[in-house]
Subunit: 215 residues, 4 copies
Amino acid sequence: MIKIIGQNNSILNRFIYEIRCADIQKDSMRFRRNLERISEIFAYEISKELQYERAQAQTPLGIAEMFLPADGVVIASILRAGLPMHNGFLNFFDGAENAFISAYRKYSKDGSFKIQFEHLSCPNITDKVLIIVDPMLASGASMVLAYNALMERGEPKYTHIASIIASKEGVEYTMKNLPNKSITLWLGAIDDEMTAQSYIVPGLGDAGDLAYGGK
Amino acid sequence: MIKIIGQNNSILNRFIYEIRCADIQKDSMRFRRNLERISEIFAYEISKELQYERAQAQTPLGIAEMFLPADGVVIASILRAGLPMHNGFLNFFDGAENAFISAYRKYSKDGSFKIQFEHLSCPNITDKVLIIVDPMLASGASMVLAYNALMERGEPKYTHIASIIASKEGVEYTMKNLPNKSITLWLGAIDDEMTAQSYIVPGLGDAGDLAYGGK
Amino acid sequence: MIKIIGQNNSILNRFIYEIRCADIQKDSMRFRRNLERISEIFAYEISKELQYERAQAQTPLGIAEMFLPADGVVIASILRAGLPMHNGFLNFFDGAENAFISAYRKYSKDGSFKIQFEHLSCPNITDKVLIIVDPMLASGASMVLAYNALMERGEPKYTHIASIIASKEGVEYTMKNLPNKSITLWLGAIDDEMTAQSYIVPGLGDAGDLAYGGK
Amino acid sequence: MIKIIGQNNSILNRFIYEIRCADIQKDSMRFRRNLERISEIFAYEISKELQYERAQAQTPLGIAEMFLPADGVVIASILRAGLPMHNGFLNFFDGAENAFISAYRKYSKDGSFKIQFEHLSCPNITDKVLIIVDPMLASGASMVLAYNALMERGEPKYTHIASIIASKEGVEYTMKNLPNKSITLWLGAIDDEMTAQSYIVPGLGDAGDLAYGGK
């Protein structure tokens, strides 16, 4: 399933606007803060899909009946661009478990590249709700590889993938290569094109560089 | 209009649960943080009601067409319990204008009290969207007085009132005494009862004391 | 005693630079964040003056002997410009008690003004360490009035006054009108002049307006 | 050079106390927040060692002469425990460049282990001030390997290493294996012992697990 949160008007689109604008991007603190704020809204929207169970809050004056999330949540981010999103998701799911994946583009002499995974720090994810975060879903290749790498740590109850800006092509590739029954793709916006170097157009440029500088 | 955000299952109710629980309340940093997180969700939900206008984001790679909030927003908080909510709303409406109102309970010898306003710091609010925040809507008396005091600074385009926990009585009093056509009341939960001292039951106790200590 | 933290080179002066610069001030979120960051550094420096007592931390692997602050701390801010500083102090003294004072300038027909206090929310401060925060110490008149108003709530063990930018005249007025033995004045910088309207020159303009908009 | 910031009484030791206490550690949000707050204080202390240059702040009312940091700063963290510290350093050095290193313990059949590096994301660091952060300096082996890996990206002007808790042995190993002339080791506390599994005693346990859960 695909849910495009930015399709409806909300303050979310102000934050997406700011991370897109070349001028506002110059303030890397605001750029990172916007990735966090966007992720807080994604976390809230995704939280609506969790399973809930009855609980009682013992207040100083009585007992309130409530419904609380019952699922174990694992937040998984793809380094390094995913880190500010990871922080934002943790702001709202503060008791979640966490996974970190590092990937890189291994370039061939002809300029083409393959996504390589180097590092995976991840708890057992069996029967948990997995949320994989990466600001850009460009070709979709790293997301699919990340998903497959994570599946070696167990079979999650359900997987949510959160990306702020996706390309049409990346959405198609992801939906084609991942099991649709147990996955929802949460997006801020879908852009039409991609450059030969797999940058989304209009997109925002390189999210990792904008958050953390060149490398 | 009344909108009860906590009626649908979401992570919001985890935060409301935590501010209600006598045990978890002992951590005043977490208490304040929860008021902030709750307010960020309220801010997001309220933002959906704003008016939007077309804008263009000039990215490093192209132009993205978007819709951004067009309304001027004024956040008004009732001191001191409203301050952590104010911070949360500002986290999402970071360019908003701001108003602060201080009120106190003036007790008579017989133990009854009247809400008195002392201080109002407020910009002109004419044609702006006003958001008045106070964590508890108990009797509703201070909210109605705050609203009336704010109206001396202009006629807002629309007013949103955000309270996390309300009493039934407080909701009725507020809806009866304020112009329903231009107001939406946003609540986390409605509790059934109120003590003789106007504390909501089960409620959470005194939000100001829990955030900032006794006075 | 007067301690000018900004006299020694540190990242503090980067934050003070940013709140001074007319260009950077346009970003009110960064302006507020800078007041917070500055206040965190002030809080750390002031914490060195507290009294400490021995404590034992029971870790999962043993016991660590440590020294922890033993004083009760009350943070008092002058509204509304003091609020972002208040937030910054609470970030570091997260278990402190809190006081809020609202003051305003009551103008006479001839354009002169008197500082009037309207609202004081304050716990008993007897034998506690009181920290009064206000970003600007211009004439010093409101600080002296705030101090005197707070003294009606008990006799603190010691009082720290924290202002980011002070005028020479304000420092002199404050030191002359407050009991030096039990007070330290913590400043970021002292500027030479003041306008007829009591704005510090070069200063930064109106801290309240820059943080929260006009009123 | 070795600088033990926790040697002098300050609020820093309250934060270190909280990350050590087995009881308080159960709140992983507070644990991460304490790593951030500790890192903000480290960042402030380290900032005093930077080089400064004269700058002019153009305020709305005049010009203020100030001294600002002139060095380019690169923050490098060792995953995953270093991430909350990385966030804290970025809170104060918000314009810094950033590096991330992932390491893991490769166990032999006999239970011994070697630190292996997998991933390095790093800008050129020549002539910049490098700050390497990792909450625990246990054996010192991963810090020395991280340092050596980073040196392949250029020769920094100076290197600061920030660890909250170190073992005596780790400090000795680090000082012996790194060039003392161009390095300062910043510590919160030095503990006496280490377990066979290289956990510091009394220490605090596994910082990565406490911040992010098991893996």
